[in-house]
């Protein structure tokens, strides 16, 4: 079976490096499936999950934005932060979710804070979803 090398890199170092047979990501334009031999492409990512399908198993990695670069037989995903499902701290994610919810519930007139809280909420929910496998 043909495979492609996938790297997920964050500012704090590489997170994932493996050969997989299919990657699917959520770009700003919608879901995108990448098979080996894909045309060179760059696409920005949404906060979401990256699915990495191997022979029998599938790995899940939560990413918070960034972009995917496909070139030849290599797929690179660059994201400000990324966590594989098995290393997500569920308690911490839930805490972050509560914090974000609280901030959103509090009436705030500043537009930017609202946006940031919303983004935090999205990230926290994404992490919880990935960890619990609701994807």
């Amino acid at each position: 079976m043909k495979t492609t090398v996938v790297n997920i890199v964050t500012p704090d170092g590489p997170v994932y490096d493996s050969e997989v047979s299919m990657v699917s990501v959520r770009t700003t334009g919608g879901e995108m499936g990448i098979l080996p031999g894909h045309i060179p492409t760059v696409a920005p990512l949404e906060v979401g999950v990256v699915r990495l399908k191997k022979d029998k198993t599938t790995d899940f990695v939560a990413v918070s934005g960034g972009f995917v670069e496909i070139r030849g037989d290599k797929v690179s995903i660059l994201s400000p932060s990324a966590e594989p499902a098995d290393s997500i701290d569920l308690a911490r994610a839930k805490e972050a979710l509560q914090r974000a919810e609280k901030r959103l519930a509090a009436k705030q007139d500043k537009n930017t804070d609202f946006k940031r809280a919303e983004a935090a909420l999205k990230r926290a929910m994404n992490r919880i979803n990935v960890k619990e496998g609701n994807i």
């Binding site: 890199v9 964050t10 500012p11 704090d12 170092g13 590489p14 770009t27 700003t28 334009g29 995108m32 045309i39 060179p40 492409t41 760059v42 696409a43 920005p44 934005g65 960034g66 972009f67 670069e69 070139r71 030849g72 690179s76 660059l78 400000p80 932060s81």
Partner: protein, 285 residues
Amino acid sequence: MATLREVKQRINSTKSTSKITSAMHLVSSSKMSRAERNAKKYVPYMAKIQEVVAAIAQGTSNASHPMLVERPVKKSAYLIIASDRGLAGAYNTNVIRTALNGMEKRGQKKEDVVIFAIGRTVADFFKKTGYTVVDAEIGLPDQPAFADIKAIARKAVGMFTDGTYDEIYMCYSHFVSAISSELVEKKLLPITDIAPATSTASYEFEPSGDEILEVLLPQYAESLVYGALLDAKASEHAARMTAMKNATDNAKELIDDLTVLYNRARQAAITQEITEIVGGAAALE
């Protein structure tokens, strides 16, 4: 001449100071090697993002993104990275002086610039001297994570985008090796000096080149800031290490000198005592 007891006291206090400085030297050297590792770990991310930005900027020839275009400069911002604490030799002073030199070179007055400060010494200095400090990041850990500076980096980039100022310079100390560093003043925005793409891959852009630049350029600028911070941290620890090494060496030298002085004083006292005894005995005969 100093009395025996005074000299002894000075020797003891210098000794205990040198113990502290040599401990700080060891601490800094271990922190430095960690900071250096962190900076190395970051290289793949930076290299990749640079490559993609270069590829896109070349691919879309009509690169008219606001972050790529130079505009007439009315106001500038300086993002200055130094440390929270002193005891690092001239580290903080040098970084601040680089920023001040840059402003002078461009003929900017206090009203023409705003400051983003990373590190307490920077924030304090520019507040005290009457500059506008827009944001200050104080109390960063020794091994900062990307999340720690995301807020200030985003603000700096955001205020450029909305036109509060027309260029941002970054001043920090670049880590060369444990014993040398280089002061750097780099233009962060607008991005004008993208290295040409090494690969000739032409990409498909999904949905479009412009929209990708919209996402990518802020991320690129933020990662430049983070890269500079990691570099500056390594340099800070190196500077502190050198400063503490010098302090320890000086203390050792001082102790040697004082010991000579001490021995001389002791010998003088003994000689005097003997003379007195001999004198006393002679008087009795």
